[in-house]
């Protein structure tokens, strides 16, 4: 669901971005919504280059304009433009990486770019002409489109735990990750090698490679340096190993287990039997209470009742 939404979002942004010059986002998005869907095919291809697309939409949106002081400055609209481009780039990178999951490995740099431009927009620093774009772009209307778009992708990034696999400034993958990928490759190569023919062969020969991978994985799990890419790769490998090649442990010790447990279960029976037979029964002395009349026995009560 999420990727699809994002796709629409970026389309949406591409439509709206250029129009900002003329008015505010809410206004435009309403007027343009009908065109949005039709614009998808052309925009999605054009978005990367982005300039031509902007032009086509531009003509639509020039319905009216506000006085200068309410307008977004040129500097801001440039920022917005760049934001749009990078947004599109990132989403374009994400979608093909959805299955099998490679979102961290392949898209961390585009995400870095996006973060950079967003930080520019949201920073306090004055640009040329003493303007700051934070207020005008991020929070001058109810929809807060730029902010919403960005925070969607940001939460996606957080959910995927990609930060664990990428160095701090989003420059490259961490060594751990690279090492894991290398180990994973070894294992997969091994799988490929023995895939033909008997799987028991595979189970025997790839066991060490798979074992190393498993150990490495659980170690990373302990240090919590896992991101979605690694988790997914591991899941797939495990499924291959257990389900496809059927290499998990067989249940083959039924006899000893059953023997030991029936022995254990037998003990209480002996215990209760022997205590029943040998232990003397505890008896209590009954006391005959002193009563005014000897009417204390059950018999008498019954008589009286009847």
């Amino acid at each position: 669901m999420l990727p699809y939404n994002l796709y629409l979002f970026f389309v949406f942004v591409a439509i709206c971005v250029p129009s900002l010059k003329c008015g505010d986002v809410v206004h435009l998005s309403a007027s343009e919504s009908a065109d949005k869907l039709e614009a998808v095919p052309s925009l999605s291809t054009a978005a990367i280059v982005s300039k031509p697309a902007v032009d086509t939409v531009f003509s639509f949106s020039l319905l009216s304009s506000f006085p200068d002081d309410l307008e977004v400055s040129d500097y801001c609209s440039d920022l917005l433009h760049i934001f749009g481009q990078r947004y599109v780039a990132y989403v374009n990178c994400l979608v093909p990486a959805a299955r099998p999951v490679k979102v961290c490995q392949s898209c961390y740099s585009t995400y870095g770019n996006l973060v950079e431009i967003y930080n520019n927009i949201s920073s306090d620093q004055m640009g040329p002409g003493n303007v700051t774009c934070r207020d005008s772009l991020l929070r001058s209307d109810r929809l807060m489109l730029v902010y919403q778009l960005y925070s969607n992708l940001e939460s996606l990034w957080e959910d995927s735990n990609c930060a664990k696999c990428v160095t701090e400034h989003l420059e490259s993958l961490t060594n751990d990750t690279l090492y894991f990928m290398a180990t994973l490759n070894q294992t997969l190569t091994c799988f490929e090698k023995y895939q033909q023919g008997n799987h028991t062969e595979l189970c025997k020969n790839c066991k060490s490679a798979y074992g190393t991978l498993n150990v490495l994985y659980s170690q990373m799990e302990k240090n919590s340096t896992l991101c979605i890419d690694i988790e997914d790769a591991m899941n797939m490998t495990r499924r291959l190993w257990s389900k496809n090649f059927n290499c998990s442990f067989p249940r083959e010790e039924n006899v000893p287990v059953i023997a030991v447990s029936s022995f254990m279960l037998f003990l209480p029976i002996i215990f209760y039997l022997s205590s029943f037979l040998h232990s003397e029964q505890k008896k209590r002395k009954l006391i005959h209470p002193r009563r005014a009349k000897s009417n204390t026995s059950l018999m008498n009560i019954q008589d009286k009742l009847s």
């Binding site: 209760y272 009954l286 006391i287």
Partner: protein
Amino acid sequence: MANITKKVSWSSRGDDSGLAGEGTPLLNGTEIPKPSRQLSGSGSVFRIGRFSTVDLEDDITSEEVKFELPTSLLSFCLFLFYVFDEIKCIHLSLFLEEERRMSHMGFRCLEISRWVICGLIGILTGLIACFIDIMVEKLAGCKYQVIKENIEKFTEVGGLSISLILWAVLNCAFVLVGGIMVAYIEPIAAGSGIPQIKCYLNGVKIPRVVRLKTLLVKVLGVICSVAGGLAVGKEGPMIHSGAVVAAGVSQGRSTSLKRDFKMFEYFRRDTEKRDFVSAGAAAGVSAAFGAPVGGVLFSLEEGASFWNQMLTWRIFFASMISTFTLNFFLSIYHGKPGDLSNPGLINFGRFESDSVAYYYYELPLFMGMGAIGGLLGALFNSINYWLTIFRIRYVHRPCLQVMEALLVAAVTATVSFTMIYFSNDCQPLGPEHNEEYPLQLFCADGEYNSMATAFFNTPERSVRSLFHNQPGSYNPLTLGLFTLTYFFLACWTYGLAVSAGVFIPSLLIGAAWGRLCGILLASFTPTSPIWADPGKYALIGAAAQLGGIVRMTLSLTVIMVEATGNVTYGLPIMLVLMTAKIVGDYFQEGLYDIHIKLQSVPFLHWEAPATSHWLTAREVMSSPVTCFNRIEKVGTIVDVLSNTSTNHNGFPVVVQPAKLCGLILRSQLIVLLKHKVFVELARSRLSQRKLQLKDFRDAYPRFPPIQSIHVSQDERECMMDLTEFMNATPYTVPQDTSLPRVFKLFRALGLRHLVVVDDENRVIGLVTRKDLARYHLGKHGLEELQLAQT
């Protein structure tokens, strides 16, 4: 009771202090003005009148009772050695005098110290709960970690039967420690302690039930048994622990440690102590379930015959403090200091999402589940009843009891292991690792054995995972097998000589079959599976099962509602508990009542048996009665007290010919003998300090046995004047009073002894609690139990 005392003090304001200062020796034989004469102001008569209502009720004889052991399985006897409590205060005249001496401020301070004590009770109970929780978590954590590693190792190389043995041995080791402590050191600490506390609040003193040693054994024992993997919980023992803490704190000393802190001496008597014990029980409940209101209601439900509004408010204070103390320290332990949102030992987790809403058409389903709970509960109780009788008869030696506990521990481990081993139910590991110790065994990598989440875990965590795991994390076969085995394990475990509660196992059984119901419902109605959330049905099933076993009503509803933290579940839970109780009562009593009965405690229920109106006091009473004269020879008293066959506790005091003039207790006589308050001695030693109320309090609650008091041959010839010390205005009834009426007097006033007199005020008999508790409504009408001596 506390209120009445207060009233008295209020009425005695005024010029008393001067009188009190006179300090006339109270020894007998001297010309001591009677208190009534001392008070001869205009108000004094009135005052005395009040007083007598205060004190009167104490009483006489007592026998002690203990329950019996069935010669035929179905009959019970009451045991002769339970002593009833003194509900009322002692010693009219001494008490009056102390009251006079106390200033207005003094009573203020008393009131404040009651609050302080309640606060202390709350804090200490919370700390104990915290200690238990952390210890169990640590020990069980270590145990499961070791076993898990072992299983993982042997899954690969073979030899899983060794893991099985390791598991059984570890379990046994823990249980051995707990079992030895309970069986050899303090047998009264066995079980959940709730039946004992119920009796205590009912007015029956069971020996050693609120001792410090009991507390230690209870706390350590419960840690061992939970960590030992038995099918038990730590909630019931918490209630007992709270009660012991309360009894200890309120007395300001420990007789076991022989330390007296010289504090709170005023509270050293049964009435006050019982009030604090009910606060302690409430604090225990509230620490166990995070349910302060439930705790208060529990105390009221179990001990409500002595109830007043201020006391309730103090009890509530104690419970609140206890749950938040627990909370506070657990938050520190979990590394989030100051986060107070995690109350209770058992945490049901939050039921908040939309899927746990319920609709009107589900109510009949819930009630149906309540009925199932009632049936299963009755079955559970019946099995446990027969088992307990067997245990009382044949497994009564401590070494046998320890062995039995060990066997149960070993079998529990074995059964759990076998179930896990043969289970084919594999589920993928969740993202946030709900499963504390996931076992893979023969599952595919990345999956875990779902039977293991139920068995390979402390019972509380299993309950929580049944409530909250995603739909689909258990398959029906797993749940069915689990319910079946756990039902029998829990039933077998309750009543062993280990300290352990039955709440959690009941919840667990119920949650398992409740979840099963939820899953089946969802599969029958494929169109609208939204409302059939298994977690919700697990909760309802848990409530039904628990209600079916313990048969508590109001307090249990509130406890469940508070523990889930969701008031909207109030209605379904109440309906479920009602149905469970109705259905269950049709077949069998509640588990706690069964155990009270099996321990032969003379427990007074709310009402006299229904068909007992034709019985009169004359038929119920014991007769003839051992009486003392007002001025009695020491030798006679010593002889009567040392006679083991008539182990009476209270004696009417008469003037010839047999006219009733008062009532005196065994404990009072013993204190008098110890201090040698004889008429002759008093003459010779006029300057001797007078006997004060303090002397009685210091002796409380462990009055020395008569054998420890040495009375020389000369002294045997002395006389003792009982006038000063007896209760001069005991309650009496004419001999034709009906049993239900006598019963009401006992229940409402908390009497211990009731003197039966004829129309000339001559003593003809004495009714005690035991005389009343003997009658019960059986299958064939009214039945009478036998008294037995142990």
